[in-house]
C-alpha cells in the first residue's frame, strides 16, 4: 500500500504540512518495502487550482491513502475514486504513518470549500 503525505521537508520526521495543495513536497511511503520517496509539489506556486493539481499527482502516483491536516472540495473530487483521505494527528510524518498502520487515524470528514482567492 502507498501512503501520500504533504511534508515541509524531505525526511521521515518532517512535520506534516498544514496545507495540502500548496505543500512544498509530498512523501510517498510504501508500507511493504518501508521506503519513502519524495516529490516536489508542482502545484506549490500555482495561482489557482492547487488542490486539483496536487491531487492529480497523488492519483498518478497511485497512492491508496492520503494523510493530511485538511483537504478542499476540489481536491476531494479528484481523489474520491481511488484515494482514501485520513486526518493527520499531531506529530511528524513517521508518527502519522505508524498511527495509520495501527488503525489510529480517522477518515477526514470535514472537506473545506477551499481558500480560493480569485482576482
Amino acid at each position: 500500500m502507498k501512503i501520500a503525505i504533504p511534508v515541509d521537508e524531505k525526511r521521515m520526521d518532517s512535520p506534516v504540512c498544514i496545507s495540502f495543495g500548496r505543500t512544498p513536497f509530498f512523501m510517498f511511503y510504501d508500507t511493504q518495502t518501508k521506503e519513502a520517496t519524495y516529490f516536489d509539489n508542482s502545484a506549490f506556486n500555482t495561482q489557482g487550482g492547487a488542490g486539483i493539481k496536487a491531487s492529480q499527482m497523488i492519483v498518478d502516483e497511485k497512492a491508496d491513502v492520503l494523510i493530511t491536516m485538511r483537504c478542499g472540495e476540489n481536491a476531494a473530487q479528484v481523489l474520491k475514486d481511488s484515494v482514501k483521505i485520513y486526518k493527520s494527528i499531531e506529530g511528524n510524518a513517521k508518527e502519522n504513518i505508524d498511527a495509520f498502520e495501527n488503525g489510529k487515524l480517522n477518515l477526514l470528514t470535514e472537506i473545506h470549500p477551499g481558500f480560493h482567492n480569485h482576482g
Binding site: A43, T46, Q47, G48, G49, A50, I52, K53, S55, Q56, V59, N74, Q77, V78, D81, S82, H116, H118, G119
Partner: protein
Amino acid sequence: MKIAILSGKGGTGKTFASVNLACVAQKAVYLDCDVEEPNGHLFFNPQNITKQKTTVLLPEINNDKCDGCRKCVDFCKFNALAFVSGKVKVFDEICHSCSGCFLICPQKAIEEKPKQIGMVQTGYFNNVKVVTGIMNAGEASGVPIIKDVLKMSDDDALTVIDCPPGSACTVMESIESADFCVIVAEPTVFGVHNFLMVYELVTLLKKPFGVIVNKVESFENQMKELCDKNQINIIEQIPYSYELAKLTSMGKIAVEESEEIKKKFVNILEKIKSEVKG
C-alpha cells in the same frame, strides 16, 4: 473622455463621486463595473431598461472521442482540468475560459458550451446612460461582465467608470481604457494604507490620476499630508457632512440637491478635463 473612479477599499465614495460627476456632464455614460455589488443604479433609478446576458464558454468533454492523452490537462495553466478514472474532469469555477483545451485537443473531443454568469443592464436618467454590470451570486470572476459593460461607452459622451474596490484583476480591467483615474480616499491612517495599493496600480499602469479626499474632518488629514509630501495631485477635498450622508442614505443625487456640491463637481470635471488635455 473616459474617467475611472477607484479606491483601495469599499465605502470611500467611489459611487458617490461617479454618479455626481456623470450628472454634471452635458452628456454622460455611467458604467458600474462593481459587478459584485453594483449600487449606482440605486441613485439613478434608470428608466427604459434593456438587459443583455453575459456568458462565458466552458469546456465539455465528449468521452466517446477522448482517448485520454491528457494534453488538455497538462496545458491548462489554471488547473481547471484533472484526469481521473480514465476521464477528464472539468472544474467550472476554476476555468478562465481561455479555450486552450479546446484548441489543443488532438481528438476534437472538447466542445465549448456557454454559461451565463451575469448580465448588463442599460437604462437612462436625464443626460446619463446608466449601465450596470451584475454578476450572478457564486460566480468566481466578474471580468467578462466588466468587459461587456465597458463596450457600452460612448465616444461623444463623458464616460465615468465606477470601479470595484481594491486593486485586483477586476480593477485593472476597469481602468485599462481610462484616460484619467480618480482615486477616492479617506483622510485616515486606514485611508492612506488603502490608497497606497491603488496608487501603486495606477503608477504601474502609467495612468494619469488625481485624488479626491472624501469625508475630510478638520482634526486629521493624513491623505493630504501624504499627497503634499509626494506631490500627488489632489483634485478636490469633500468635507465630512451630515447633510451629504443623509442625502446619500436616501438615495438622492447630491448635485441635484445642493448648489454647493454641484459647484464642487463642476469644478472637479473641469480640472480633470484640463489635466487630460494637458
